[in-house]
Amino acid sequence: MKQVFRNIDKYYAGSVELVPEEPEDMWHAYNLVAVGDTLRSTTIRKVQTESATGSVSVNKVRTTLCIQVETIDFDTQGCVLRVKGRNIQENQYVKMGAYHTLDLELNRKFALGKHEWDSVALDRIDMACDPTQHADLAAVIMQEGLAHVCLITPNMTLLRAKIETTIPRKRKGMCAQHDKGLTKFYDQIIQAVLRHVNFDIVKCVLIASPGFVKDQFAEYMFTMAVKMDWKILTDNKSKFVLVHSSSGFKHSLKDNKSKFVLVHSSSGFKHSLKEVLQDPSLAPKLADTKALTEVKALDEFYQMLMNDADRASYGVKHVEKAVDLQAVEILLISDELFRAQDVQKRKRYIKIVDGVKENGGEVRIFSSLHVSGEQLGQLSGVAAILRFPIHDDDDDSEEEG
């Protein structure tokens, strides 16, 4: 994201002009735009014109509109942000108060105006405009009969394909159907990899599975790649890494990375894959991904809960209480909470964040699109590791997520 212009006054009102440069920026924008904000951007509008003779024609015109935001939609499949609202600025084509939907586009600037820019939103802009961190990964998480093909960017884990097939099991004296089912399954995964992994961007592809499925698959894939002359796979062979996982479900992405057990060479890998595993540059490449740091933070929280339950707390009320007591050392909070409709609710979360920062605590904002963020979301969206124990009296009547 590029910031073109910023004008925010001392009361934190004002506007910022930004240019999204990659799909990830749409996610940032999605987290910035709130109901009630004003958004200005160029857009295409269908306009009816009536000529002197009375004939009506419909034209598409490009114009700049400014709307007051009413609904916000994010489509993870295409990374499209769609914002709907009423026009609030005189325009030659569009009446005041008429509805319009702005689709934010890559490389087209938009201006966002807020009555009150909070610290979380401002931090988000800084993060979005920080050019350093960029390690895009792809991951194939699989087990026999089930595979997830995901893309992992700093702030998003996007499921690109889910393959689920029934593979006939081995039966006494008859394994042919099993083998056939397995190759068919692998073929489908290869198709998904070819279709969804952009090797220009992706630095490495993790292939993870329990048992030997990953090895078998990788072997099959590269055999096929040579046979079919899929240059894109053979050329990028060095980008593939085999990882151990406990299951083929998407959420086991989490334990992959926390453990990151590279499979031992004794089980018969392809040579080139061994080279990848030995490549020391891979570890740091993965280490700075936001997904990984989030996983670690959540792990720390659970460790604390295990060892000293009174020094770990979750749920808005409990965390608020801890903030009041200046007890929060690390705050884990899902960005989902700041997208709350209700302004009061949003303010409540912002207050928690600001409170923690004031007292020298650390704030980790999780992306709700990552698996760890998903889990934090299930855990009420906010959790904290405390400096000193606080006993929660169990009166809690918090509502369900």
Partner: protein, 631 residues
């Protein structure tokens, strides 16, 4: 596609979807279905609204259900249509026998569901059938079954309702009536006892070798094949695995010398017919081991007596431990411990005693009764003390007990629920010869015979049973406890999955997206909180699930509530929790069907808890909130 939506007014008032009227999708689907179903009608009948009294209670307010049919008013017309098409289908197919069956069986069911019997009196088939559909007051099932209904109406040969009203007995004679079934079952009882036995234990304990060799000694494997295995395994440099090859049949398993999935086989002892399930020991394949164990009555736990190896399997994180606990939690009560590879420790009595003492203590702790555990020293590789064919003076000098075969013969008989509604959990699906396709699995309750109509869940298809085979031998009927291959017709093979259920159409399983369950935590390393994402293992299903709520922590021995809404659960605690699934899972409550009410929870490659289903809180649709938990 994941879609995140936010808006100022829409979110606040979610308009619940009205499931009582057909959605555009439903209509399109039913039309499509009609188009693709071979039917006696020239054109698909119009979609109409049929009124059905709700939930089996007499009530004037009835929810409206769509059934792709002629107008309800023209009942007689409908019936004649039906019988006409029925005749056609009879001439068209050789499936005559399917149309009518279990008359008296149905009668029995009607009687037991007296609540809805008012629906069934002398009205049209269709209506009667719909009445049955609502009995469960489980709208998920309703919707599913409405689809199946549609289907079955269009192809009348599939209509399960036809059996509901006694008609010409001539057609029924092709099927056995319950009395005959009972007779058939008694005949079965008079023969050898049937038992399902799973073989479990730490990786490389020698399970497959032991069982392969036992099968060989019992004459189940012919010498020519055994010789071939010896030659071929030697060629791969895996000569010691020759006996394991009897059960490890895939290329991958043989190449790696590791069992990956359950292998099924069968042998007989003087008093028993054993269905053998050889489980993988590697911890990555525990999901498969769970699937196998869920189908077993009894187990053999194989431990490796070799110095240091027994210890590895037995220490924390070893599968001797984990498998023993899993088997107990999955309902296995009788256990033989085969202390294997005794040849590697020179048949030392002291070592044997040491192992049996340690294991005995542990097994008791885990909940096995002392009388139900036995220990056998043996060697799977050399074949000593399997059937008593190979003498070993070093063992005989101190051991006077049974051989493995003798001990297996001593397993106690288990009782089967053959009188409950039919249920089979699909473990495998494959294309056989001839029409339709085959599924395999263990019949959990009830009985089945060719010609029966069954309901497939969760797809909702109605299928006809074409044939039954047990160990590749075809049978006229099969009962609870049998591992059967069922050949079915009437649905697309792609709509049935491992974990799907076949059941009695008049008494389907519960469908759930959220359940309340009692769980017992194992020795877990991290605390369990709400929001925990786990893998739910149930019969042959593995599905992701989220622990949505920690309701209460229980006293382990008394079951009393110690604390409501605990902050987290740690190792060895017992608790009531709520679990939510992404898509509906068909299951039963523990109190109704013990075997179908048990499940396991795993996280990150570890088994963290065993659970019992206490209540179904939500099935798929929102309209039927708070589904009754009654059986």
């Amino acid at each position: 596609m994941k879609h995140i939506k936010r808006s100022c007014n829409i979110m606040n008032e979610i308009i619940p979807f009205d499931f009582t009227t057909p959605s555009p999708d439903d209509i399109v689907r039913s039309k499509q279905k009609a188009a693709f179903t071979r039917t006696a009608f020239a054109t698909a009948p119009p979609t109409v609204i049929l009124k059905v009294p709700p939930k089996g209670r007499q009530s004037s307010k009835s929810p409206e259900k769509t059934i792709n049919s002629n107008d309800q008013a023209t009942n007689s017309q409908l019936n004649s249509d039906k019988s006409e098409s029925l005749q056609k289908s009879q001439t068209l197919s050789n499936n005559v026998k399917t149309s009518l069956n279990i008359d008296s069986d149905k009668g029995r069911i009607v009687a037991s569901n007296s609540e809805d019997s008012n629906l069934r009196t002398g009205k049209s088939d269709l209506k009667t059938d719909s009445g049955v559909l609502t009995v469960k007051s489980d709208s998920k099932v309703d919707t599913l079954k409405l689809e199946s209904k549609t289907d079955s109406f269009l192809t009348p040969k599939k209509d399960p309702s036809l059996g509901a009203i006694p008609r010409s007995a001539s057609k029924a004679k092709l099927l056995l009536d319950p009395a005959k079934m009972k007779e058939e079952y008694d005949k079965r009882l008079a023969e050898k006892d049937q038992l399902n036995m799973v073989v479990i234990g730490h990786v490389d304990a020698g399970k497959s070798t032991l069982m392969g060799h036992l099968l060989y000694q019992l004459g189940e494997i012919n010498q020519r094949i055994m010789h071939k295995y010896e030659q071929e395994s030697k060629k791969l440099g895996k000569g010691s695995f020759a006996f394991a090859w009897v059960l490890d049949e895939t290329e991958e398993e043989r190449a790696r010398g590791v069992t990956m999935d359950i292998a099924q086989s069968r042998f007989e002892t003087p008093k028993k017919v054993i269905t053998l399930l050889d489980a993988p020991g590697h911890k990555d394949f525990i999901p498969n081991m769970i699937t196998g164990t869920a189908q077993a009555d009894v187990a053999i736990l194989v431990v490796n007596a070799t110095k240091g190896e027994f210890e590895t399997g037995f220490e924390l994180g070893g599968q001797t431990r984990e498998h023993a606990i899993l088997a107990r939690s999955l309902g296995v009560t009788q256990l033989i411990v085969a202390v294997n590879k005794m040849d590697t420790i020179d048949w030392l009595e002291t070592r044997y005693n040491d192992i049996t003492k340690k294991l005995g203590q542990f097994l008791k702790q885990v909940g096995y009764k002392e009388n139900d555990i036995s220990f056998i020293p043996c060697s799977g590789l050399s074949g000593v003390n399997l059937t008593g064919r190979i003498p070993e003076p070093k063992l005989e000098s101190w051991y006077k007990g049974s051989t493995l075969e003798e001990q297996i013969d001593k397993f106690k008989v288990v009782t089967r629920s053959i009188d409950k509604p039919f249920r089979l959990c699909v473990g495998d699906i494959f294309k056989g010869m001839g029409s339709g396709f085959s599924v395999t699995g263990r019949i959990v309750t009830g009985s089945v015979q060719p010609g029966d109509r069954l309901l497939v869940l969760p797809s909702g298809d109605s299928v006809a049973v074409k044939g039954l085979a047990i160990n590749d031998v075809s049978y006229p009927c099969a009962f609870a406890g049998d591992h059967v291959t069922v050949t079915i017709t009437g649905m697309d093979m792609n709509n049935i999955h491992v974990g799907s259920m076949l059941c009695d159409p008049t008494s389907p399983l519960k469908s759930a997206t959220r359940i309340k369950a009692k769980i017992v935590l194992f020795n877990v390393e991290i605390p369990i909180t709400k929001g925990f994402m786990v893998v739910f293992h149930y019969q042959s299903i593995t599905e992701p699930a989220v622990i949505k709520r920690l309701n209460s922590q229980l006293n382990k021995s008394t079951g009393e509530v110690i604390k409501n809404k605990p902050k987290c659960l740690v190792k060895n605690m017992s608790a009531v929790v709520e679990l939510e699934f992404d898509r509906p899972i068909c299951l039963e409550l523990y109190k109704d069907y013990k075997d179908l009410g048990r499940f396991m929870l795993r996280y990150s490659g570890h088994t963290i808890a065993a659970g019992l289903v206490e209540e179904v809180l939500k099935s798929k649709s929102k309209t039927d909130e708070g589904v009754s938990s009654s059986g």
